[in-house]
């Protein structure tokens, strides 16, 4: 039990970093109604950019900022693939992800780069658990506040409308292509931020660190909704629920490891759990609700 308790602050910290990443996933998956696989690559891009800049002596805040911008560029690329080139969103994300694999290797020069917390002025680190938690809470609070503000503006509202009913949005004069690109950029910027924080926390950037990130992000979104949706209805609170979903995910993850579960199987387990939860709304509709007329919800992109 003592070992589990000792691991708890670390699990919470990692959970919050992944919770930030999950907010990025929330924006594409829940708000834009796009399953964006760019995140598997842009997470590492954020880590790689931040790490390399810090290794070359750049200030940590500037490094994080450039990492966010790099993530936004990745989102822009996916957005252009999807809107301008007409490639289905899921494939557009996979293409960018593959491009980023090469780009990330080129940024780092090899498959991993260490960023020792003792030699660099990092924001978050395993060496200072409590300070790290405080800083992460502050990061989450600012991020949620900014997103709450943005999605309440005229532009932000039109982004939400684009994801909700694209035909209606065009009929109301909304530039839906622009909004999709904007949403993808914001999302991947946030994902890159979480990558930058994770590299600092772990003391290294690794080419495979974003692998399966979309699944972890979805898991956090789903857990957040399942556990808190009854209490947290307001948009800002729902984003908080997503971060808490990430924390719960990581606590469960650490517990499973602590109990001696074969870690080789963890990714498979996560994916199966996520698949099951993704099926729940579908099963609900199919078996427990009377069939509704076509065009329900307008997420078909009419």
């Amino acid at each position: 039990m003592g070992g589990w308790l000792n691991a708890l602050p670390g699990a919470v910290a990692q959970g919050m970093i992944w919770g930030i990443m999950a907010i990025g996933v929330y924006i594409t998956y829940k708000i834009l109604d796009i399953a964006d696989l760019t995140v598997d690559g842009s997470m590492c891009t954020g880590a790689a950019v931040c790490t390399m800049l810090m290794l070359s002596g750049v200030n940590v805040w500037l490094a994080v900022l450039v990492a966010i911008l790099a993530g936004m560029l990745a989102g822009l690329l996916t957005g252009i693939f999807h809107t301008f080139m007409g490639i289905p969103a899921i494939l557009a994300g996979i293409l960018t992800q593959l491009i980023l694999w090469s780009v990330n290797l080129k940024i780092m020069g090899k498959s991993n780069q260490s960023l020792p917390a003792r030699s660099f002025d990092v924001l978050v680190t395993q060496l200072k658990q409590w300070e790290t938690l405080l800083i992460l809470v502050a990061f989450c609070a600012v991020l949620i506040a900014v997103l709450y503000w943005f999605f309440g503006t005229e532009l932000g509202s039109s982004v939400r409308a684009t994801g909700c009913n694209i035909g209606m949005s065009r009929a109301q004069g909304i530039n839906t292509d622009f909004n999709k690109i904007l949403g993808l950029m914001i999302s991947n910027g946030i994902v890159a931020l979480s990558g930058a924080l994770l590299a600092q926390y772990q003391g290294a950037a690794d080419i495979s660190m974003g692998r399966g990130a979309i699944v972890t992000g979805l898991a956090a979104v789903i857990i957040g909704e399942a556990v808190f949706s009854k209490v947290l209805r307001n948009f800002a609170l729902r984003l908080t629920g997503v971060v808490l979903g990430g924390v719960i995910y990581y606590i469960v993850y650490q517990t499973v490891i602590y109990l001696g579960f074969d870690t080789d199987l963890l990714k498979m387990l996560s994916a199966i759990v996520v698949a099951f939860f993704l099926a729940v709304p579908y099963w609900n509709k199919k078996y427990f609700v009377k069939p509704k007329k076509k065009g329900d919800g307008g997420n078909a992109g009419a």
Binding site: L155, S157, A161, C164, N165, S169, K293, G297
Partner: protein, 264 residues
């Protein structure tokens, strides 16, 4: 107000599914015209509305709204001239957003959407008044999700959204077809009232022949992608459903076939 010049559109050209949807379509709408559109299955009624709205570009021809050539203008840019209500009540509103958010989106049609608040509190009062005029009790539900409303309520909200920001042309695509008769009648009288009060120019596709005769000042009948019959004023008022069917037989050489046409 609206001018269609020789508009032609063929779907799936060069395949077995080739379908000439619009064939040299010409139409001129005067300011304040309220035109009802009837026709058989596949006559091109909805296709004409989609051409005007810019869902796709016509193969040939020209579309002018209030003298502006919009033929090559993309759908979302053209939206500033148009108010649209669709057949499916689900299509006209954002279900996951609140009633007031939907209205706020609509009032900004044709304007730049910046980083100011999506809804100002002064707007809420205006929305409350407008919703109260609908007589559906929605003025107390400004923050309800539109997805919770019935089909008729959603169509009423969509109609409000289409006309909130006075459009140069209102496009109604069988907007009462999915509603039960009582609700349809309510939405129809609401439509009449708004068009009358705002002096709107409107184009209404309907499958209900009686509605086509009763409402508006002009009626056009479509067949095989063109207009075969155009009548207005006193002559239109005197029309009966039998007249219409008779004229259709004579002009098209076929029986009027529309799965959903209501003959009374």
């Amino acid at each position: 107000m609206l001018e269609l010049k020789n508009v032609t559109k063929t779907f799936n050209p060069g395949t077995v599914n080739e379908k000439i949807a619009l064939k040299n379509l010409n139409l001129l709408l005067n300011d304040g015209d309220f035109v009802t559109v009837i026709g058989g299955n596949g006559a091109g009624k909805s296709t004409m509305l989609n051409a005007i709205a810019g869902v796709w570009k016509p193969d040939e021809g020209q579309i002018l709204i209030d003298g502006v050539d919009v033929t090559g203008m993309v759908e979302y840019k053209r939206a500033k001239f148009l108010g649209r209500v669709f057949q499916d009540p689900m299509l006209g509103t954002a279900a996951d957003m609140e009633i007031e958010e939907n209205l706020a989106l609509a009032v900004r049609r044709g304007r730049r959407r910046g980083l100011g608040w999506g809804i100002r509190s002064s707007e809420r009062e205006k929305y409350k008044e407008l919703l109260a005029e609908l007589g559906l009790g929605l003025e107390h539900r400004l923050t309800s999700k539109v997805g919770l409303l019935s089909g008729g309520q959603r169509q009423a909200v969509t109609l409000l959204m289409a006309t909130l920001n006075r459009p140069k042309l209102l496009l109604l695509d069988e907007h009462t077809a999915a509603l039960d008769p009582a609700t349809a009648a309510k939405v129809m009288s609401l439509t009449d009232r708004i068009i009358d009060e705002e002096h709107l120019t409107a184009l209404m596709v309907t499958h209900n022949m009686q509605d086509a005769i009763t409402h508006g000042n002009r009626l056009i009948m479509m067949h095989e992608g063109g207009i075969i019959f155009d009548i207005s004023g006193e002559e239109k008022r005197k029309l009966t459903i039998e007249d219409l069917l008779d004229r259709f037989r004579k002009l098209s050489g076929t029986q009027f076939a529309n799965d959903r046409a209501l003959l009374n």
